[in-house]
Amino acid sequence: MPTYTDAFTAADGTTLTAYSANWANAMGSFAITSNAIRTNVADADCLAYHNGALNNNQWCEVRIAAIAAGGNYQNRGAACRASNTGGGAAYVFIFDDQTSSFTLGSFVAGSFTELGSGSASPAVNDIVRVNASGTSISGLRNGATLAGPVTDSSITSGTGGVSGYSVATVDTGVRIDDWLASDGIGAGFPFRSQPMAHMLVR
């Protein structure tokens, strides 16, 4: 049951791929601010994936580190079964700081389709998680299912990742941190039952 984590500890402005060779961009790019990550390009969808191999039944989560409710249109979130296939593929669960909502969706060949959404206002320290188990895809907030499950067969494999969008090139106000991906889907896997430091394998 591989588990991978990342706390994104680096100087402000360091790009995600410069920070760690474990990361690759499928779409757009990310950079670090205040030891958390944000998107690093303007008006473009961003998707990055980690090189840690996972079984196809997998999940990925991030902690909301900073948010600017009602601010410029920005979203961030977790990605699973992520890859650069066809220009970007993943299931993602993202929060939107402007509309105060969560969206479950898929990137296939770089094109984003909404699978569902959840009615909840994102808050700092919320844990945003996307699960993919077989063809069952769901989004969770703080351990509770908020969107889904939805059956979707588009993407069968990939790794954990992050996704996001910003209107502005360097819009540092919305950030995610404490990334975690695992293929330990199932009732028996504790939801962040251990402090991050105990699970750090990066």
């Binding site: 909404e114 569902g116 059956t151």
Partner: protein, 198 residues
């Protein structure tokens, strides 16, 4: 009431302009309705489910490009009956094979088969990427032999991934029959669409 629709999809496929139900921004979201969507592969049409109030439902079905499954179709056992022609016509208008639908079929069985067709085309898109191999000039009557090797391989890959019995597919199999065959192979596995299973 929990309801299931077939609606057109709109959007450029970005976070700002996602592919979503044509009526999400005008009916669903303004009325506080959360929806879940299955997309038909590359096509801009989806199965859309939500807990939809009667007023919003009336607004939706006033649009000729929306099809609403009957209330409680998932539990009522209601058959398609004389409405089969309407259902066939709207599905075929979106390029979804539907001539197999019979009046004695239940809405649940039809919905499940249609949803399973969506799963087949979704996986095809996941394998093949952006370009729709089933777009015109391809029709539902195009035969397997007429698809490129890559498309044929993708079809067989879907079968292999799901441990399907692919013996029913041969060079003469039409896209129409192929799609239904793959849906039949999906079998009774449940289809989840957020707020209910069918």
């Amino acid at each position: 009431m929990i309801r299931l629709y077939i609606t057109p999809l709109v959007g450029a496929g970005t976070f700002v302009d996602p592919i979503r139900s044509k009526y999400k921004d005008t009916i669903f979201t303004p009325n506080g309705i959360t929806i879940f969507t299955h997309r038909y592969g590359w096509r801009m049409v989806g199965l859309v489910a939500g807990d939809v109030d009667d007023v919003s439902h009336a607004l939706l079905i006033a649009n000729s490009d929306v099809y609403a499954f009957p209330d409680n179709f998932q539990t009522s056992g209601a058959t398609v009956g004389a409405a089969s022609t309407t259902l066939i016509n709207i599905l075929e208008s979106y390029g979804i094979p539907a001539q197999w639908i019979q009046p004695q079929d239940t809405y649940l069985s039809v919905g499940h088969s249609v949803g399973a067709m969506f799963q087949f085309t979704q996986r095809m898109r996941g394998i093949l990427g952006a370009t729709d191999p089933f777009a015109p000039p391809v029709t539902l009557n195009t035969q397997f032999r007429n698809f490129s090797q890559a498309v044929q391989d993708a079809i067989m890959q879907v079968g292999a991934e799901n441990s399907y019995n692919m013996s029913g597919i041969n060079n003469n199999t039409t896209l129409r029959n192929l799609t239904k065959y793959m849906a039949d192979q999906w079998g009774a596995r449940p289809l989840l669409i957020g707020i209910f299973t069918f």
